[in-house]
């Protein structure tokens, strides 16, 4: 069984990866941190730093958060608003 997760990339990370949205196919039971490791292991995500800020479905989440099929996983560069 696999799930599909929409990875959203912003600002510098979108620039690094060369895309602001990617569909990731992951094994059932994957956690948010696993999705980032998967992306980092590939060609496009190699530049992502070892720790990143994550949000699942628009709310900040820990890397331990279990992912469901159809979740939106945002990978956020360090915040710089204000």
């Amino acid at each position: 069984m696999t799930i599909t997760v929409q990875a959203l990339l912003f600002a510098r990370y979108a620039e690094l990866v060369g895309a602001d949205r990617l569909a990731l196919s992951l094994p059932d039971g994957s956690r948010a941190g696993d999705a980032v490791s998967h992306l980092r292991a590939g060609h496009t995500g190699g530049g992502l730093p070892p720790t990143v800020l994550l949000a699942v479905n628009g709310r900040q989440s820990s890397p331990d958060r279990l992912l469901d099929d159809g979740d939106e996983l945002a990978i956020l560069p360090p915040l710089a608003g204000g």
């Binding site: 912003f10 620039e15 690094l16 628009g58 945002a74 360090p78 710089a80 608003g81």
Partner: protein, 151 residues
């Protein structure tokens, strides 16, 4: 709505929170500066994860209004700004000035810490940087190829 692509109208934010029982209004505005980390800034662009940012702003406002007897208005601008443009404004009305000042300071600190917004600066020498408060110097330079592809 706490995000806008239009210029921020401070007077209308103040009007939004003012009540006859409020004697004190504290306001903070953050504007685009002409320099950052020793570099001359010529242009600036804010981007955001907008749906999450709206949620976080609403949470910050609600939490402030629960912690203190205040009314809070908050607006953050996105898109391309020039030097001197207001990027963010916080307005806090209260019966007394203590809570107005404390809550205003708290709100802007929370916005900077929690709201997913990013700042891309263009410098006088044509280079481009991403503001990153977690690195020494506060800037990560953009890749020239990415920059070229963006234009």
């Amino acid at each position: 709505m706490y995000l806008t692509h239009q210029p921020i109208d401070l007077a209308s934010l103040i009007a939004q929170v003012s009540r006859a029982e409020h004697g004190a209004i504290a306001t903070f505005t953050g504007a685009v500066r002409d320099s950052h980390a020793g570099r001359e800034v010529t242009a600036l662009s804010y981007s955001s994860y907008e749906s999450m940012a709206e949620h976080e702003c609403a949470d910050v406002v609600r939490e402030a209004e629960a912690k203190w007897p205040v009314r809070v208005a908050l607006m953050h601008r996105l898109g391309d700004l020039t030097i001197g443009d207001v990027a963010v404004a916080v307005t806090v009305a209260s019966a007394h000035r203590d809570e107005a000042f404390v809550a205003c300071r708290w709100v802007i600190d929370q916005v900077k810490a929690r709201v997913p917004i990013w700042k891309r600066e263009t410098y006088a020498d044509g280079t481009v940087g991403w503001v990153d408060p977690t690195v020494p110097g506060g800037i990560v330079m953009a890749r020239p190829d990415a920059e070229a592809s963006r234009g």
